[in-house]
Amino acid sequence: MLEFLRQPWPWYIAGPLIGLVVPFVYWYGGRKWGVSSSLQHLCAAALPRNIEYFRYDWWKKGAWHLSMASGMILGGFLGGRVLSSPDDVVAISERTHDHLSGLGIADFTGMVPADVFSFGALTSLPGMVLLLVGHRVLHRWADLGPSPPPDHLLRG
């Protein structure tokens, strides 16, 4: 069972499970499910100022949202650490893999590429935006064909 749960879960299992949260939350609390509202509650709790959008009892309205968000942190730990996949590579399609390699992504392990998502990479955020958006667009416009790996940008 544990070995089974450690494999990546297929979309036709995950999707319906996520979809069932909507009727469940209506049935359980008469509430409309959403995660983005947590952001509004965090604002209302931390820095409401005099903004009308944030002037409400954030605990009364948002405690359930924020409890769920906290649960997601634990769930991420369980899913990513305790039930981590034996093969730590997301099985994206060959085409996507080739495309991202062309953009300079070298490390395909984990949920997100370590090349982009690290505290170190934050210092060259403009470089990253250029790398992931601009580079490709520029090449398209200039009709230079496939982009070469921009190592110089990655090294920053």
């Binding site: 949260v21 983005s36 769920m68 997601m72 634990l74 769930g75 899913g79 997100v112 934050l122 935006v129």
Partner: protein, 156 residues
Amino acid sequence: MTTEPNAGSEQAVDAAKEPLWAYFLLGTLLGMIFIKSEVASWFRIQEMFHFHSIHMYGVIGSAVGVGAVSLALMKRFGTRTVRGEVIRYPGEDEVKPRPQHILGGTCFGLGWGLVGACPGPFFALMGSGIPVMAVGLLAAVAGAWFYGLLRPSLPH
């Protein structure tokens, strides 16, 4: 975020009757699903936006389908909450497509494409051992705050 109704429009639910741990547990399950189904993966989001695989569309499509069918059935049979309260669904006004939904959705998509995560996955990724995602979450909270600030002058 931008498509959510304002704070005042939600019905008052007696929070004292609702154990918050239930929502925490539900969040835990969702966090696990987000990681194990790889919808929290930047690689999967890249794959989705290049239309290279069914995976993300399968998850989102089946979730929306299951959610919609469940809600239709609940409305049909007049299902009440677990405590016997009448469920109040969003009114026609709230679900009718309007320009602000297109604008807001486009902004949401821009962020989704750039950072490869939406609010739920932010929490799950932080828990799975990628603390730098807290920066993304803070940025999203900042976005929500500025939305609240500018709300009076935005088209609604």
